[in-house]
Amino acid sequence: MSLSEEQVGQIAYLARLSLSEEALQSNTKDLNSILSLVEKLAEIDTDGITPMAHPLHMTQRLREDKVSEEDQSESFQAIAPKIGKKHYLVPTVIE
C-alpha cells in the first residue's frame, strides 16, 4: 500500500496542517517508506490474534461515581484567550 500526494494533502487538511509543496513531497516519501516497513507484517499469519488496543497488558481501572471536582472556572478562564460572561469566546463559527 502506498499513499499519493493528494491523499497526504487530504490527511494534512483533516489535521489542519499547512504543508508546502516541498513538505508534501518529502512527507509522502517518508510516509510511504514507513508503510512499506509496516507492510512486512502482512507476511505473518494473524488469524485468531486479537488486535492490540493498548501496548500494556493491563485493564482499565474504574472510578466510583462521585463528584470531587469543584468549580475552578475562574482560574481556567484566566488563561483563556477571550471570555465573555462565564463563556469561552471563539471566532464566530457559522454552521
Binding site: 485493564t59 481501572r61 474504574l62 472510578r63 463528584v67 468549580d71 462565564k86 463563556h87
Partner: protein, 476 residues
C-alpha cells in the same frame, strides 16, 4: 412508482450519573456556564481520563434488557474532528469494540408486533455547547456538557415508516427510564434521536442512498421530519435525480430540513484506540451483580398486571408504557386490589385527561396515588356514584382536600335509603303520565328520562343501580 421507506435510528441516551464519564465534575442540568467543566473536560495538558464505574453498569443494564451480547472486553477510541466545543480535538467514543453488541426489541403498532434489531450500543462523551447568537462577533462555548456520559444506541435499518420509527424510539425511551439509566428528558437533550432515512423501489433489495436527519427533539418532530425527508427523496428520484449522502438539520419552526455541508467533507474521523485509556474488562462478578440489580422490565410488568390484576392487554399496555404511570398504578393498587380495573380506568381516563389539559407530567399531578385510591374506594363501596366521583375528582384536583373530606363537606354521599328514593320515584311517575304510557308501549329509551329526573331531584346522589331497578319494577 411505489417506494419503500427504510429507516434506522441512532439514539443518544444521556446516562444519569452524578459525575462525568471520565472526570469527577458534576453533571447537573442548568448550572452556570463552565462551572462544571474541570481540567479533564477542558483537555488541559497532563490530564488523564478515568472511566466511571456507573457508566459501565448502566450500559450493561441496557444491553441485558435488549438481549444483547455484552462485550466484557471493550475499547475506547478517539474520533477526531475540530470544533470549538470539542476542546481536545477528539471525542472519546467506541468503534470496533463497543460495550453492547447485537440485540433486539419488540415494537407494537396497532395489532401487529415487529422485532427491530439493535446493531450495537456504545459509550461516548458528549461535546460542549456552542451558542452562536449570544455575541455578534463570537461564538460562545459552554463546556458543562463536555464529558457527560452518552450511550449511543444504533438500530438496524428495520423500520419501514415514520410511525414504526416513532414506536421504536418510544420503546427505547420507556426502557431506559425503567432501567433508571436515563431521565428521558427530551427538552433538556437527555434523549436525542438521529434518523437515517432512505427510499428504494418496492421489492428492490439494495438500499438507497440515505440522508441523516439531526436536531430532532420530540417524537412528533421525528415523525414529521422523516415524512418530510421521504417526500423530498421521492421528488428527487422521480425527477431522475440522485439523493446525496449527507447530514440534514431539521427545522421545526419552518418545517424543513436543510443540508449541513460542513459535516460532509470532514467525514473522515480517523478513529484509533485511545492510548490514555486501557481496554475495559468487565468481570464476571460485576456482570452477575448488574444482572441481579436489573429491575422489572416493561414486558414483564405488563404480563404481571394481566395475570395478577386481571387487566386487559390494552390497559396493561397503556399503564406500563410509561414508568411513572405504572408506578402510580401500583401505589393505587396497594389498598385497592379488588378494584384494579377501576383504578386503571381512572388513571387512563380522568387523571390523564386532566394532566393533558393542564400540560402536566404525572409526577407533578396534584392528586397523589393514595388519594386517588381512596376516591376509587368510595366508588367501590357505593359511598358515591362514578358520576359524583368526577366532581369529587375535580375538587381534589383544585386542592379542596381528600376524597372523604370533600364528600363530607359537600354532602355527596350516595342515597341508598330505599324508602327515600321510592318517595321520589313515585312522585316522578305520578307527574309524568305521558312518559309512563310511552314506556309501557315499548319505548325502552324513555327510562333514561326517569333516571334523569330522579337524579335531578337527588342532585345526582341516588344510587344508579338501585334507581334503575326500582324504576323498571314500578313502570312495568
Amino acid at each position: 412508482m411505489e417506494w419503500e421507506t427504510v429507516i434506522g435510528l441512532e439514539i443518544h441516551a444521556q446516562l444519569n450519573t452524578k459525575s462525568k464519564i471520565f472526570s469527577a465534575a458534576a453533571t447537573k442540568f442548568g448550572a452556570e456556564p463552565n462551572s462544571q467543566a474541570c481540567a479533564v473536560d477542558l483537555g488541559l495538558p497532563g490530564v488523564l481520563p478515568v472511566l466511571n464505574k456507573e457508566v459501565v453498569s448502566k450500559a450493561v443494564k441496557f444491553g441485558l434488557a435488549v438481549d444483547a451480547h455484552i462485550n466484557q472486553r471493550n475499547v475506547f477510541d478517539r474520533k477526531n474532528y475540530f470544533y470549538p466545543d470539542l476542546p481536545k480535538g477528539y471525542q472519546i467514543s467506541q468503534l470496533d469494540w463497543p460495550i453492547v453488541g447485537e440485540g433486539e426489541i419488540e415494537i407494537t403498532l396497532g395489532d401487529t408486533t415487529k422485532v427491530v434489531g439493535i446493531t450495537r450500543a456504545h459509550l461516548e462523551e458528549d461535546a460542549g455547547k456552542s451558542i452562536h447568537d449570544l455575541y455578534d462577533d463570537f461564538t460562545a462555548v459552554d463546556l458543562n456538557r463536555a464529558g457527560i456520559p452518552l450511550l449511543e444506541i444504533v438500530s438496524d435499518p428495520d423500520m419501514r415508516s415514520a410511525k414504526e420509527a416513532v414506536a421504536y424510539a418510544k420503546k427505547i425511551h420507556t426502557l431506559v427510564q425503567y432501567l433508571e439509566i436515563c431521565d428521558g428528558n427530551m427538552q433538556e437533550g437527555s434523549f436525542r434521536c438521529d434518523a437515517n432515512v432512505s427510499i428504494r423501489p418496492m421489492g428492490q433489495e439494495k438500499l438507497g442512498t440515505r440522508a441523516e436527519l439531526k436536531n430532532i427533539n420530540s417524537f412528533k418532530f421525528l415523525e414529521r421530519a422523516i415524512n418530510l425527508e421521504v417526500e423530498r427523496q421521492q421528488d428527487i428520484l422521480e425527477e431522475g435525480g440522485k439523493v446525496a449522502q449527507e447530514t440534514r438539520l431539521y427545522d421545526a419552526v419552518k418545517h424543513e430540513t436543510r443540508s449541513m455541508r460542513s459535516k460532509e467533507e470532514a467525514n473522515d474521523y480517523r478513529y484509533f484506540p485511545d492510548p490514555d485509556l486501557l481496554p475495559v474488562e468487565i468481570s464476571d462478578e460485576l456482570m452477575a451483580q448488574i444482572k441481579q440489580e436489573l429491575p422489572e422490565l416493561p414486558q414483564e410488568k405488563k404480563a404481571r398486571f394481566i395475570a395478577e390484576f386481571g387487566l386487559s392487554e390494552y390497559d396493561a399496555d397503556v399503564l406500563t408504557s410509561q414508568k411513572p404511570m405504572a408506578d402510580y398504578f401500583e401505589k393505587m393498587i396497594v389498598n385497592n386490589a379488588d378494584h384494579a380495573k377501576l383504578c386503571a380506568n381512572w388513571i387512563m381516563g380522568e387523571l390523564s385527561a386532566s394532566l393533558n389539559k393542564h400540560q402536566l407530567e404525572l409526577v407533578d399531578a396534584p392528586i397523589t396515588a393514595d388519594n386517588l385510591s381512596l376516591l376509587v374506594n368510595r366508588i367501590g363501596d357505593d359511598t358515591i356514584s362514578g358520576k359524583i366521583a368526577k366532581d369529587v375528582f375535580k375538587a381534589m384536583w383544585d386542592g379542596e382536600g381528600s376524597a372523604d373530606e370533600i364528600i363530607e363537606a359537600k354532602g355527596l354521599k350516595q342515597m341508598t335509603d330505599i324508602g327515600a328514593i321510592e318517595v321520589i320515584v313515585d312522585e316522578i311517575i305520578a307527574n309524568n303520565a305521558p312518559q309512563v304510557e310511552q314506556f309501557k308501549s315499548g319505548n325502552e329509551k324513555i327510562l333514561g328520562f326517569f333516571v334523569g329526573q330522579a337524579m335531578k331531584a337527588t342532585q345526582g346522589k341516588a344510587n344508579p343501580k338501585l334507581l334503575n331497578e326500582m324504576l323498571r319494577a314500578k313502570l312495568s
